[in-house]
Amino acid sequence: MGAQATPTENTLPLRRADFSTLAEALDYAALGQTGCNFYTGRGELIAVLSYAELRRQALDLARQLASFRLPRESRVALVAATSPDFICFFFACQYAGLVPVPLPIPFSLGSHQAYVRQLRALLQSCRPSLAMAPEDYASFLTEAVAGLDIKYFGTADDFRRLPSAKVEPVPLQPHELAYLQYTSGSTRFPRGVMIKQAAVMDNLAGIAQYGVDLRPGDRAVSWLPFYHDMGLVGLMLTPVASQVSVDYLATQEFAMRPRQWLALISKNKATISFGPPFGYELCQRRLRPGEAAKFDLSSWRVAGVGAEMIRTESLREFARALAPAGFREEAFLPCYGMAECSLAVTFAPLGQGLKVDRVDAERLATEARAVSPAAGSRESEFVDCGRLLPGFELKILDVEGREVAERQIGVVHLRGPSVMSGYFEDPNSTREVLSKEGWLNTGDLGYRVGDRLYLTGREKDLIIVNGRNIWPQDLEYLAQQQPEVRPGDALAFGVPGPDGSDLTVIVVQCRETDEAKRADLITRIRSRVQAEIGVDCLVELVPLHTLPRTSSGKLSRSKARQNFIATHNLAQSRSHQERRAAV
């Protein structure tokens, strides 16, 4: 093993993402010694890519991409494995005036056909001129592009064998797109978030200067996928734009060996790492007795938490379990964001940790107000997600679109320079969420207290499992693919799980009375959902004509959800606090 990881200390003065484009940010980072490093789940360093080397490779590739003489802002689809090639291609697009589109890699067992269909739907949505997949996934891409109008597709090496353009390509400019992001659409009807250079640079500056207050000596570790906004913007682009070295572990390697996350932080004295709450929980659950003291997490000053509703119990357990390793609970940094805002919207103050607001659960349910609990009444708790990054404006609106008072719950609306330009070639979806005046309807519910934002749930039907967005329409569609289920026979929704993640539920109307056949239908739906969407779900069969409807006769997911919670006594398991308070 000759390779050495890139150093933490740089020879270059730190600039905290104050650049006008991503290409300009990499031009500067390439003058120093920092870069990114790739580790296996067993802790071996398999690749080192300094930012200097990244720039060299990206410029070479940019000339090869330029040989296609594509119109500016043509899309380049990139199957986003955690690898140096992905980052090289992402920046090659920046230099070549082309728009990279990170696409997911398959995760689930038996998902071959489902993945190819998903990839194809994404390719049909972003209409790329070029597409690249790593060697390991090239065969899936070949299947997915069949019959599509794509100029050229292949592996990274295929592209590297192409001739170079004679002319020097012109990098993407501040008013041009930086990338398309596909985290927020359904699988069948994907929506590509369009983020301009100026938008992402504004967000990166906010993250680096205010969110995590980057400083010399910082080093990041990440296992988040590059096709996820937190992985791409937070842990790939922020480090480049701030010249910070970062150590990567592929997401699947993390899922297999989560303690490697802690080993990497210990080994390289990392200071910054982010994850959804379930990542911390997974890690803590797999910890062996007495093992915590073998890690040294004393350098970890920012343990970011986001991507789903934050519940504090499992995070506090993580902190307790890893106290012997020097982990401090104040390192937790709750934050709120979404791909439609580039990434970050709010951050809690550094060093505050998990600050909760305890409110009266009854008045929350009946008046949608978050006020101190009356003596003896049930409590709910919400985590302080902090303040808006500079540049953002916030409005919390009630159902009639009026702004609500402090501590009143409503829908979170945001405006600011980091907000997307819209969904790619989808004016209808864009109009649904983005007003002419530039206000984004997030579909998230919350309230504010002073300059702090608290999130309480979602108005939209979106389900979030382990930080991943899942659309109920996709689940209902899969259920309806079974021969005995008809359109309108299935409703899907999420109910609160113990750790803040949603439990996925599909309620299906069923004519069948034979027990064995009913059990078989449940098994088929579950395995289809597992293969296509990659989540486990609870399938409940109900008699015909029992799915709830709205007053206008439409099927109602929210009523089905309420019924389910009421009949399964789930309200009680929402949090231990509530139960304790009720006793």
Binding site: P106, Q252, Q530
Partner: protein, 86 residues
């Protein structure tokens, strides 16, 4: 060199430890359909398999694995290519 049948036998032992409530396991048992393994349990299983058989399972094979037999076949091929590389 382990035979395919030996690998199936060892896999069944590993899976049985992960899902003790399921009794009847054979090469045709579907890991997700029949056992309902979620993605985290699947990754846990793959890690156990890697450590037990001392192989590295490329993750791009997972989309083509449905049954215990599918997984055993992949492991068998990996072990063969290991041996021929030595």
């Amino acid at each position: 060199m382990k035979t395919y049948q030996e690998i199936v036998g060892e896999l069944i032992a590993v899976i049985h430890a992960l899902t003790p409530e399921v009794k009847a396991l054979d090469e045709n048992t579907e890991l997700i359909g029949n056992l309902g393994l979620d993605s985290m349990k699947v990754m846990n299983l793959i890690q156990e398999v890697e450590d037990r058989f001392d192989v590295s399972i490329p993750l791009n094979v997972l989309p083509d694995v449905r049954t215990i037999g599918d997984l055993a076949l992949k492991i068998h091929l990996l072990l063969q290519s290991h041996d021929s590389a030595r």
